[in-house]
């Protein structure tokens, strides 16, 4: 047994040595003909565990973008290395390092969850590799921690929550007429993003917050909280229940016969609507994008996405699709030369592509300046459920943390 192990170890070492030689040997001529080699993009997403549905949206969105670009980015052949972060920061860092050092990825993209982004952003940007975040947008990275090698095609987390606070002030449709929501109960999971959500909502909401309920992140039964909400008789509910939490919350909300307007973020979207079904009908969400936004890019994106993957895309897919389009435009601008980092950064910052969201440009902190919508869950003619935009709440919104960003030199 030990002998075998030793032998294996030796073999592996020999192999490692050989592959290093091969890598060095290949890399040198590779540098000379950099133009001909494909652009390698490391796409980080969560593809195992309970939140894998979100990661699947992100991955498929990016891959559809590449397909629309004939598998080229800026005219150069492109190759995607899909990295499953397993929603474990340590695993993500190990895999990301391997992608940059071993697989020699030129650019990284993706990342669904904020805690993964917080873990991988330094290991990536310290190697002077660009990271295009297509979903997570924690406020520290938009503010004090802004980074010349990081661009986001998504949003700052707080913004989607702030949309709902503003929407409540303006009023939402209740029983056929517009009603301003003055008294709400906030219910979110008891972790950082949950508390940020409550803070984001309160940053714009002008009415009274009657109570804030924090539930454990692994809650499966909300009946205790729903009873509490019914007893307090608020005019509306604000909630943030991502993934499976949202499925349970929304279905139990309906089963309990509650009929208050629900303002939610990341709770009802196309990733969980198939499981929520009818229970989610009429619930509000604050978002940057819906499948129904009327522009040519979006229509094509949604149509082809459904045709290829057989499900309706969520914002995770839309932002990743935009990420692919952004990279294409930037690499085209620099003529395929990825070695000049400063030029590449200027090219990315130009955001010279047509977003599925319509308005899109980058602010000084390299986060988007874009519109935010109030949207509502509707049933399509084919019986499937999707979010439909109701009205624009913020136009060309700059995130509230941009002012804190002192962009460091490259």
């Amino acid at each position: 047994m030990t002998g075998q192990l030793n032998k294996l170890g030796l073999d592996r070492r020999t192999l490692l040595g050989a592959s290093t030689f091969a890598a060095v040997g290949l890399a040198l001529p590779g540098l000379a003909r950099a133009q001909a080699a494909p652009v390698k993009v490391g796409l980080i997403s969560v593809l195992t565990g309970p939140q894998a549905a979100l990661g699947t949206h992100l991955r498929d969105g990016f891959l559809l973008g590449l397909k629309h670009l004939d598998n080229k980015l800026g005219g150069r052949a492109a190759e995607v290395v899909v990295i499953d972060d397993e929603l474990r920061p340590d695993a993500a860092v190990t895999k990301v390092r391997a992608a940059i050092e071993r697989d020699r990825c030129d650019i990284m993209a993706g990342v669904v969850f904020s805690n993964i982004l917080a873990a991988v952003i330094r290991p990536i940007t310290e190697t002077k590799t660009f990271l295009i975040g297509t979903n997570a947008g924690p406020s520290p990275i938009a503010g004090r921690g802004c980074n010349p090698y990081f661009f986001a095609t998504s949003y700052v987390n707080d913004q989607n929550h702030a949309v709902l606070g503003a929407a409540a002030n303006q009023g939402v449709e209740v029983g056929g007429q517009n009603k301003v929501i003055r008294r709400v109960i906030i219910i979110t999971p008891n972790y950082q993003a949950g508390r940020d959500a409550a803070a984001g909502f309160k940053s714009t909401f002008q009415g009274e917050v009657m109570d804030e309920i924090y539930v454990p992140l692994n809650t499966t039964d909300f009946s205790a909280e729903l009873a509490k909400i019914a007893a307090a008789r608020p005019e509306g509910i604000f909630t943030f229940m991502p993934g499976g939490l949202g499925v349970q919350f929304v279905r139990q909300y309906r089963q309990a016969g509650l009929d208050l307007p629900v303002l939610s973020a990341f709770t009802v979207d196309e990733a969980v609507l198939p499981a929520q079904g009818e229970a989610a009908l009429g619930l509000y969400t604050g978002t940057t994008w819906t499948p129904t936004l009327p522009n040519e890019q979006n229509a094509r994106f949604v149509r082809d996405f459904e045709a290829q993957f057989n499900y309706i895309p969520a914002s995770y897919a839309a932002h990743a699709y935009d990420g692919a389009m952004l990279l294409d435009s930037a690499i085209r601008k620099v003529g395929g030369n990825l070695a000049d980092k400063a030029a590449l950064r200027t090219a990315i910052a130009a955001a010279d592509f047509r977003s599925v969201r319509g308005n899109f440009r980058f602010g000084a902190n390299q986060f988007p300046i874009q519109d935010f919508w109030l949207a509502r869950v509707v049933r399509r003619q084919d019986g499937k459920f999707e979010t439909q935009h109701v009205r624009k709440v913020f136009e060309n919104a700059v995130d509230p943390f941009a002012a804190q960003c002192r962009m460091p030199a490259m």
Binding site: T56, N218, A230, G244, V247, L258, A275
Partner: protein
């Protein structure tokens, strides 16, 4: 807090307790009789829920799903026993924990491959989809009451099986002293198989019952498994009666704690602190209760094992 609210929370606690009992009953027997730590027991619960989702999607009927999912859950449980668990009975606990943890990973991933990572839903049976207005603005779903009734009936049946039948007698004897039962000429392996299969089916039953109110997703059994272990430790390993009492206790403490703690803390702290501290304390409450009970009764409420 009004009495209505307390009544609702009590019912909620009872309903969580019943689900926990169905999972813990199998777990405590397998642990008690076979001295086998099965971390993968939560997987049986998930399998039950997925079977229900699969059959309900195919036939459109919850009742059909309930009827078919039980024998299928039993068959899958026995298959796992035959393929994996059988080879672990004679090993030490660490190896059992490692191997059954591996089973969790494999089955969770397998379910994801077959059904996808997105959560599934099971429609509620038409007959039970209504609600009972307990308090203004809030319906108590009939289905949840049905869970409580169904669970209590199952508990009664289980009590009868364990206390009043010959197999039940052997199971109790096995929990007290398995080697002695084997020495008396009982085919202990067959007994193990019956216990294991029955436990798997009960957990599957819990999964089917929970499917219409919870989301059916990979890894859904893992959270409940921890609570189920708390239940069997509090109740006394190997004791069905202990599991029943402890399950209701844990269900009530968990539910009432979550709704009362923040209000209770408000008596001492400012509202925002009370929310944070209350929520944190509420999630610890079950474990604090377990520690307190074990301090006074180290073998649990209803210890079974002799010596």
């Amino acid at each position: 807090m009004s009495t209505h609210l307390l009544l609702i929370q009590g019912l909620n606690g009872l309903q969580l307790g019943i689900l926990l009992f169905l999972i813990a009953a199998g777990l405590t027997l397998v642990f008690g009789v076979m001295d086998f730590i099965n971390l993968a027991h939560g997987v049986q619960y998930m399998i039950g829920a997925y079977l229900a989702a699969w059959i309900a999607a195919g036939t459109g009927s919850f009742w059909f799903a309930l009827l078919l999912a039980l024998p299928l859950a039993l068959a899958l449980g026995l298959l796992l026993e035959f393929l994996v668990f059988r080879h672990l009975y004679d090993r030490d606990h660490l190896q059992q924990v490692l191997a059954t943890f591996g089973v969790i990973l494999v089955v969770n991933q397998g379910v994801k491959l077959l059904f996808g990572a997105a959560p599934l839903q099971v429609p509620m049976p038409e007959l039970l989809s209504g609600g009972i207005p307990i308090m203004e603005g809030l319906l108590y779903p009939t289905y949840r009451i049905a869970i409580i009734v169904g669970g209590l009936a199952t508990a009664g049946l289980l009590w009868w099986l364990v206390e009043r039948t010959k197999v039940g007698m052997l199971v109790r004897a096995g929990a007290t002293n398995a080697p002695m039962v084997a020495a008396l000429g009982v085919d202990i392996n067959r007994l193990f198989m019956i216990v294991f299969g029955f436990g798997a089916m009960l957990a599957g039953f819990a999964g089917v019952l929970a499917a219409p109110i919870l989301s059916v997703e990979p890894g859904m059994g893992d959270n409940l498994l921890i609570l189920a272990f708390v239940v069997i430790v509090i109740g006394g390993i190997g004791s069905i009666r202990g599991a029943f009492i402890a399950a209701l206790l844990v269900g009530l403490v968990e539910t009432l704690g979550r709704s009362l703690m923040p209000d209770l803390m408000r008596l001492f702290l400012s509202p925002s602190e009370a929310r944070q501290v209350g929520a944190a304390l509420a999630s610890m409450l079950v474990y604090i209760a377990m520690a307190a009970i074990l301090a006074f009764r180290p073998a649990g409420l209803f210890p079974v094992r002799a010596g």
